[in-house]
Symmetry: C2
Subunit: 478 residues, 2 copies
């Protein structure tokens, strides 16, 4: 056997050490690696291709809902950051400060944007004058920086990649509709593109975005029972408009403040993909964003005509799916393990006997199911199988989430489940901050959201026993 | 007539004040606006859409030549920047320094990347071990920051957008071939996509990139006779490999240093588009990257069926070109001026009489030529007309460049032309730095490139009169 490019060695099993399993997968599937820059990742070609597919899918949804992309500055002058009180309090402790340009000390410090509300507002104050200038439906793709103490690839890094939508509207109602619309876009994308089931809801005041009136979220449950906030949509009212003196002449000829939203999804979503679908053999990618949907592996490659046939098939397949041929001299066993590790949804094997029978073998990554398919039927069978993988992944994730979602009605139960049952815990809440803080401190769970789909579990708050207002999802979170 | 959203007021004519014409076009075509952040632009939706088309066209050329995208950190620790001597000398004076993260003073300063050679090398030292790991053909799309004193939108800004390719190869020859390949990709893109004729050549040592062995460039001539360096491709030899201790086991089992290239094209290219094709009515966009290729304008819109027919046509056209309908209540005259200002390549007018005759009028932006076209022939005629606009723009630009390219053979002539004839000046050079500096100081021209297509103008250097080595393009530059 020829020298192998590298060995596919064992990855830590999920059961043994989930955190280590995660970093093993990130590293061995070559999604990202650490850099010499503390807290910053190098996103490698495979990870970048995955992110580009996420970006393109989201971007087309944004454009279909009337949004336009812009590119805003990387820096925010300190005085601009300070214009909205709650916002600066939330972000100032975690920004990177630029004090020098070349040799020259700056008169005013600049921070690297941790988010861009103030930059958009600064621009909006220049371009919004009349109700005819509204709505402004802008988005940008960029990276932002937040000074984090501990970091993990994709989940929490100092610099991360995201999109941030920032919109301005004539009325509060329109802005609230936008907030909801974009939350639904995120939920649709998570479920129909990434096969990740999500709970839609509202954040409590404690957990909302700094400066927002209300924050909405989609929450997903990871394999280890921890929650991952996967996308957020914020309604700001006119607080920033007032702080930035953005005014427009309304239909009634009076000066008015526009109403604002922002919404974001970040490279964290790659962490969600890994921890929702992955298994002990590595990554499992949802077909709609997988950089390679089908890997073609010639079997008994030294036999005449096999590699040629595999190359011919690859060319045909490239017309309707993302396909890669591995004609390297690594062993078939090595290749099987390698592309399982990389989470490629379908493996196509073709050897001399298959060629004789005008067929090939298709193996699903998610359940290892094998199908013999005639070479004449690939154009219909492969899309069907990719769809089946998508559906299989979604259903498996949904089933797991349902099995790991618990209901508790008093504080003792909450503590017990929080300690012993990783997952979502549904429980009633009175709406008081002190109860939320007690649950955090004494049971170790944070509120994930007030779901839009409410149930009445009991009459009383799980923390204080007084009259409850809402049912919430609680849990441990990334 | 209804209230108009805004007036298309006059822009300064090119003849009167070219610099003011340029900023007028940038502002009034809504490509970009200034921000509160010194030296940083806000790239508005129209400018961003243009940049995204540039990006997508280039990106598909990079992928077709085997390159993969990655995403590298935004920051470079000071010690990492200092690893390659010439490189740090070139860039350290113009970087932005981060000294604090939140409240905490950093132990080591970080700069915001001015370019990413050192970040790629740091990563390559981790992932390159064997000749089997080569070549590495990476690219990234990002923004970089250089602390500029004076700034002009797109042409020179503190933060600018670009792509930077960074590749590693087994042999010097392969790396040199890559350098040349990517220069050709840029030239092909400039000419066949942007309709900008370019001169390909090599930079002198004085003008080459900090740390490079050789820099190649494509140079374009702007409307005012100044040159714009539009894309560069650098060959590094193994200097960085040695500085970063990147070694691989070669085919002969010895440890070797790989050979490196980098290449970049930036948002400056938007400045080149504006200053190559624009006229006194505003922007003129090359069809292949124009965000809107055809604007549909209903004439006598109040007449029954006109707006409906225009909307129906727009829908049909959207299948084969980028099309926009303007059904607003602004006057036809206002709309004509607005879309001329925005440089939309084709204007489609349709009124009640056209509908009767089953035809419409197509007007070219570049030469205002009108064509009546049957509504049944649009799918063939529009692509033909877009191609004709592209060709027209290229030929016009090439003709202007030829008319503005002069040949001189002694220093007096050089001074005379430099003072009185804006354009490229071809002249012989002996190869000595002092002659290049003399031409800069006394004639005000810098060397643009040593073109691949050489001519022998005379035997002697235009500056010192000694034996000449090469013919160079000289000029004033952006």
């Amino acid at each position: 056997m020829a020298e192998q490019k590298k060995m596919v060695d064992e990855i830590t099993s999920m059961e043994e050490d989930f955190a280590k399993w995660y970093t093993d997968v990130v590293r061995k599937a070559e999604l990202a690696s650490y850099s010499s820059v503390r807290g910053c990742m190098v996103i490698r070609p495979y990870g970048t291709a995955l992110w580009e597919n996420v970006r393109d899918e989201l971007d087309s949804r944004f454009k279909a809902t009337g949004h336009e992309n812009v590119m805003m500055p990387l820096f925010i002058p300190e005085s601009l950051l300070q214009k909205e009180k709650d916002h600066v309090e939330g972000f100032a402790p975690e920004v990177a400060w630029i004090t020098h340009g070349g040799e020259e000390k700056l008169q005013e410090r600049l921070c690297v944007r941790p988010t861009s509300e103030v930059l958009f507002c600064d621009h909006y104050s220049e371009v919004i004058h009349s109700y005819r200038d509204l709505p402004k439906l802008y988005n940008q793709w960029c990276s932002v920086v937040r000074w984090e103490k501990t970091t993990r690839p994709f989940l929490r890094t100092m610099e991360f990649f995201w999109q941030e939508g920032h919109t301005m509207h004539e009325t509060a109602r329109e802005a609230m509709e936008e907030t909801e619309l974009m939350l639904n876009v995120y939920a649709d994308f998570a479920e129909n593109c990434l096969a990740i089931p999500v709970v839609k809801g509202k954040k409590t005041d404690k957990e909302k975005f700094a400066g927002a009136v209300a924050t909405y979220t989609i929450e997903a449950l990871m394999h280890d029972g921890k929650a991952l906030q996967s996308g957020t949509s914020h309604y700001f009212g006119d607080d920033f408009s007032r702080a930035f003196d953005i005014q427009f002449t309304g239909r009634d000829n009076t000066l008015q403040y526009p109403h604002q939203t922002s919404w974001g999804m970040s490279s964290r979503i790659i962490g969600a993909i890994i921890m929702t679908h992955g298994d002990d053999n590595g990554l499992v990618l949802p077909p709609k964003v997988a950089p390679v949907q089908v890997v073609v592996l010639p079997i008994a490659m030294h036999k005449e005509g096999v590699l040629e046939k595999a190359a011919e098939l690859t060319k045909t397949l490239s017309k309707f799916c993302r396909v890669k041929l591995d004609g390297s001299d690594n062993s078939a066993g090595w290749k099987f393990a390698e592309y399982e590790m990389k989470g490629v949804p379908l493996r196509l094997e073709i050897g001399p006997r298959d060629i004789e029978k005008n067929q090939c073998v298709l193996v699903r990554r998610d359940n290892r199911e094998k199908t013999f398919v005639s070479l004449d039927e690939l154009e219909t069978k492969i899309p069907q199988l990719l769809e089946a993988v998508h559906k299989g992944l979604y259903e498996k994730a949904l089933k797991r989430r349902e099995e790991m979602t618990y209901t508790v009605s008093n504080f003792e139960e909450m503590k017990d489940y929080a300690d012993n049952k990783p997952g979502f815990i549904k429980a009633m809440w009175c709406g008081k901050l002190e109860c939320e803080e007690k649950l955090k401190e004494e049971a170790g769970v944070s509120s994930r959201c007030i779901p839009f789909e409410q149930e009445k579990i009991s009459e009383t708050c799980v923390a204080c026993g007084e009259a409850a207002e809402d049912m919430l999802y609680w849990g441990k979170a990334y």
